[in-house]
Amino acid sequence: MTKLKLSIIPTSLISLSLALLPAIAQDSDSASGDDSQIMHVLNRITFGPRPGDFERVRKMGVQKFINQQLDPSSIPESPEVADYISGHPTLSMSTGELFQNYGRPVVQAALQAQAGGNNDISKKEIQKVVAQNYKKIVGDVSGEHIARALFTPKQLEEVMTDFWFNHFNVSKDKGFDHIWVGNFEDRAIRPYALGNFRDLLGATSHHPAMLFYLDNWQNSMPGQDQAERPMARLLGAGKKRGKQGINENFARELMELHTLGVDGGYTQDDVISLAHVLTGLSLPPLRQPIGANDVDGSGSFGYRFYPQRHDFGTKVLLGQRIGGGGNGEEEINHALDLLAAEPATAHHISYQLVQYFIADDPPKGAVDACSATFQKTRGDIKSVLRTLFARPEFWDDKYSQTKFKSPQRFVVSSLRASDIIPTNFNPFLGYLNQAGQPLYGCLTPDGYKTTKDAWLNPDGLIKRINIATALGVGKMPGAIGLKADPEVVMSAIGKELNSNTVAVVAKGPAQMKAALLLGSPEFMKY
């Protein structure tokens, strides 16, 4: 590409882009939709355009690009992602192995200390080990998360992984969950992100990260064999002494957040019934060595079902009888089947998807259409998305550039647009902490919001403008000296800039141009 100084670029947006991107001019007869449609699709179904993306989609055609993104198995993984994963062995460990290596030593030390058997082990030392493990595991998986967002060509799969992770949120900051959040994303979310909703629900419901996060590992039939009490205390999740029994937490969120939605027509009695159905679905015994069965045996997610803690009585859930057949795991699957098939679930998921992909205030027509597809296909996520992407609302100009980026999306899209590969992700993760969106750190089970009112505030806006500036001038810690090149940024996002931005950038000093582009109002939106 010809090197052009931005200061001599004409102020008209079209001619600017043409000057920078001769390839576009050659391809201008393509029948693949207009420029703004291409940018819209890149903004909504990927984490933002990288240099070259626009031309690629234009050549390929928007619809073909969408179809390809809906079929991630047809897209080869990027070498950057593959290299990162092979370079970080914890990412290939099962939940059992992760616990064995990074959780159990801590438990053992703490138990010894608690028993007074070893006075040499102080709380401080235990905390030190926990902190080291936390840094290692969370560091590895955060890097994977960012690497995938930046580099994978399977962008829609990654975008949907983000969507579902927040839908089925777990937090690295609850007890041992830092060991499992990455595995949860890799094993329970991503493989099903474009699959069938019922499979996804089954995977998340059986994953230790979820069972721990929403306390179901302690959910037991009262009076029956209880979850290990010392562990409960140790993990800081202990319920009232002597009163351990039914824990409704998971049952409630399973209906309110994961399936039916808060107005989904269930009652407190349904919550209690579902809690009884879920009794006994727990973790392997953490005090003992992890058995082969727990590594990949009784389910590849490492859950353990304890019949002796299960309530085998007949339960009534949403008017349907569950149980009495003597197969506890079967009862749980039966309940998940019921929940996944409810029209309220179809509506709830569709509402969230339309909010995520179209507008903060989801247009009803699109929600209803997606909901109909969801029901007709029994939760085939790809089909629902196909419906969504074919809706006139998805293409309506009135909705384009109306979503406001979350801090995570802002960081990722900035690095994508400027083609910067940080040498260290930590400063970026630090920014996300400051901006109130720590990676894997949403405390509440409803996950991070994707709406403008959650993220648009003066302090947050100034913070991200300063990140943009630091990237633009090559002073962002973690990417020092990797100065964003304004031409590169232009080639990625030039098509979405308005004439005011183009004019201000054109007149701005050379060293500020990339900063102004990445910090522009248009780039805050998508």
Partner: protein, 411 residues
């Protein structure tokens, strides 16, 4: 865009940009503005060794190694009301106690039984114990109930991370309590370039202007006097820092100079004393010392303005009444809350105290919660910030405060 349009845009930008400053300095009605400062001690401070029931034999039998010595003894606790006594590490606060600007509410806390730091902090910040799906924090909900004064620094969070308690729609400025690192946009010419970019965006322009204005205010306030000493070492809990004493200086600087600040929040971590917590000296005392110095310093620097600032100190739950096998304490239930400020009915330990006998303890082990933490906060909100019952119901839905707590403030 031609040159003339550009100049027009630039001019517009600088107007928008300057707007928040208009009339700013003129309205320096510092004394008419009531403020609330909330301090959260993350990790569960051992309230029984902050305000200790030294008048009870059980206190000493439950805590043979870590009880505070009686007042008058070496390292003795500081007598409050004959029954309770203060950890001597908090001696800087005794002036405020004696001047009736400090009170405690014992046996207070969250009605939720969780002993998980994670859940209990969450509930204390959402203000809705037991309900996990509340996405806003009560301090942010409070903002919507206070008079809108269009200040970019109406609400200030001190610390690196926006806390749960401030989650919500109201705008909150974030201030590092350590060195106030300059940002590129603090430089006028850089801010101006972005001002030009944002001038044409009807939604973002005012938000940008407000953000820049907040930074200017904060920078101006903090630039005066010396840069505060760096506070050291991050604590484990959510980036909260151990309370080094200098926070009082920084807080006072900002709150004195910002007549329009209405609420502020700061969290300190490192109170999870399971092992060797000490008594008048040791781990817990080391944490309390700078907190006491900082708070006393804060109110001293505020001077008369201090009457307008009420401070609430709270922690997610208390710790076990009995010391554990490691000369520490484990996760408990009820705790002591602190209130400081001008119109506090000071010099009293409030709350229904049932003593430490086995059957008075919650589940036989913890100080019970006889006062919901929201009753204490509600009393301050109505008595100090003058919000009405309807407004209060928006801050704490599903909750009726115990009105008898209103006597923690002067009528």
């Amino acid at each position: 865009m031609n040159r003339r349009e550009f100049l027009k845009a630039a001019a517009l930008a600088s107007v928008t940009y300057a707007l928040p400053f208009q009339g700013w300095a003129a309205e320096g009605q510092a004394n008419s503005n009531k403020k609330l400062l909330v301090i959260m001690l993350r990790g569960a401070v051992d309230g029984l060794n902050v305000v200790a029931p030294v008048g009870e034999g059980q206190y000493y039998s439950l805590r043979p190694n870590i009880a505070l010595p009686k007042p008058g003894q070496a390292g003795g606790a500081l007598n409050l009301d004959g029954h309770f006594a203060l950890n001597p590490a908090l001696s800087p606060l005794m002036d405020m106690w004696n001047n009736k600007r400090l009170s405690f509410i014992h046996s207070a806390g969250s009605p939720d039984p969780s002993r998980s730091h994670f859940d209990a902090q969450d509930y204390m910040e959402s203000g809705e114990p037991g309900i996990k799906t509340v996405s806003t924090g009560w301090l942010n909900r409070l903002l919507a109930q206070l008079p809108e004064n269009h200040s970019p620094v109406r609400a200030i969070n001190f610390g690196p991370t926006m806390p749960r308690i401030f989650a919500g729609n109201g705008n909150v400025a974030n201030v590092a309590l350590t060195k106030n690192n300059p940002l590129p946009t603090d430089r006028r010419e850089i801010a101006n370039y972005f001002g030009q970019l944002y001038s044409k965006d009807p939604v973002l322009a005012p938000i940008f202007a407000e953000g820049i204005a907040a930074r200017e205010e904060i920078n101006k306030d903090l630039a005066e006097g010396d840069q505060a000493d760096q506070m050291e070492q991050m604590a484990a809990n959510k980036g909260a820092r151990p309370p080094q004493a200098d926070f009082g200086k920084q807080l006072a600087k900002l709150l004195v100079k910002e007549p329009k600040t209405q609420v502020a929040f700061i969290a300190f971590g490192g109170w999870d004393t399971h092992v060797n917590q000490g008594a008048d000296k040791g781990q817990l005392a080391n944490k309390l010392t700078p907190l006491g110095i900082g708070l006393a310093d804060f109110y001293q620097r505020l001077g008369a303005d201090g009457d307008n600032v009420t401070t609430i100190v709270m922690s997610e739950f208390g710790r076990t009444a009995k010391e554990n096998g490691n000369k520490g304490t484990d996760h408990g239930h009820g705790n002591v809350m602190w209130v400081l400020g001008g119109n506090i009915a000071g010099g009293k330990v409030f709350g229904r105290w049932n003593g430490l006998s086995g059957n008075a303890l919650y589940e036989g082990r913890d100080v019970p919660v006889t006062t919901d933490f929201r009753s204490v906060i509600s009393a301050v909100l109505t008595g100090h910030l003058n919000i009405n019952d309807n407004a209060l119901a928006n801050v704490f839905p599903h909750f009726s405060p115990d009105r008898s707590l209103e006597n923690i403030l002067n009528a």
